[in-house]
Assembly symmetry: C2
Amino acid sequence: MREAFRGELAAIGNSLVEMTQLVGFAMSRATTALLEADLDLAESVIEHDRMIDKRRDEMDEKIVDLLARQQPVVATDLRVLVTSLRMSDDLERMGDLALHVAKIAQMRHPRNAIPTELISTILEMNYVAQMIVTRAGEVIASRNVAAALELDRSDDEMDILHRKVFTILLDPSWPHDVESAIDITLLSRYYERFADHAVSVARRVVFLATGTWPDPQSDLTGNHAVLDDL
Amino acid sequence: MREAFRGELAAIGNSLVEMTQLVGFAMSRATTALLEADLDLAESVIEHDRMIDKRRDEMDEKIVDLLARQQPVVATDLRVLVTSLRMSDDLERMGDLALHVAKIAQMRHPRNAIPTELISTILEMNYVAQMIVTRAGEVIASRNVAAALELDRSDDEMDILHRKVFTILLDPSWPHDVESAIDITLLSRYYERFADHAVSVARRVVFLATGTWPDPQSDLTGNHAVLDDL
């Protein structure tokens, strides 16, 4: 029984790792759609988001089923299950954020939503997003606390890029219109929230492994005072 | 045993209703702080958000404890617990959104972040937010499917206001700077997401009661294609 339970927990862990891959891929494709004003690709990202939602729903069912059949009573085991539910929610939400990026590409097509001077920053944001989500997957698989804490620091790079975007937008020489400023404000927030959720996943691993949250100042959503430096 | 379990489920329901009141109050105070450039009030909202986070964490612990002691095996009971976890997450996130509104008030103090021509729209957004969160509390308490579906429709009012904000911002006669446009874009998104999460809570009640989601087109986050009409 115990052995079977371990096996099922491992399967849940594997599903979560797969979800990190799906949402990383979604954000990568959304970024390409955005920068190349590629309508087909944007619509494909939007369509694929249902698959990610489905994965999260399947996770709910798996956990209900596991609770019903195995009846775990050890608090640690139950906490792993509760945490897995929370992680699948973080990952599903990351999929939504990729979808939102794709929607801006779709909405502005055939125009390109990103002015030339911001292309490199958006590319960097995607690069950091990919790095963070890949590491989140590794942290789920390895339960490595040191790697999880490392990831918490990587998020600082995203915050720097997020601030850089606002510096560019608020420069008096900014030559583009309000619509463009709105698009870029929202896009920057989507990448930043994507990274926040990946960090939240890593923080949950730390909590499971150590019983304490990595930083008592932060809340559980990995919400690093987004706007403090806006 | 079964009786005790029912009693504990009811207590969890009551805690969720209380969370709706806390987050409704937080958003109401954040709106006042924003419109009156009231720094003390903004800081009080920011400080109080920890209490809401704590409520969510206590909910996790309550549910782990209940699972360990009562060992429910009926899938319906387990689904209620999983759904309660999801609802507490929605509500905690609504608290974060009130905090984000308060942070814009804090950041722009002593200036007022909201230009005169947008005050009435922000007031209306808060009015709709209050109505939706109050109804979400009633729906949790009553498990009334008709009221939950009604709430799904109320969200349309928020979407109309959200679109109205962008119409005002994108009007060629918009006289304010890019910073102001950024603040208002984010604020409008915060109110709109607040309503989305309240709708998500109501939709979960419908799912528990009927076994189907109110609208097969929408995803579980109550995410009504925020940007389609931006």
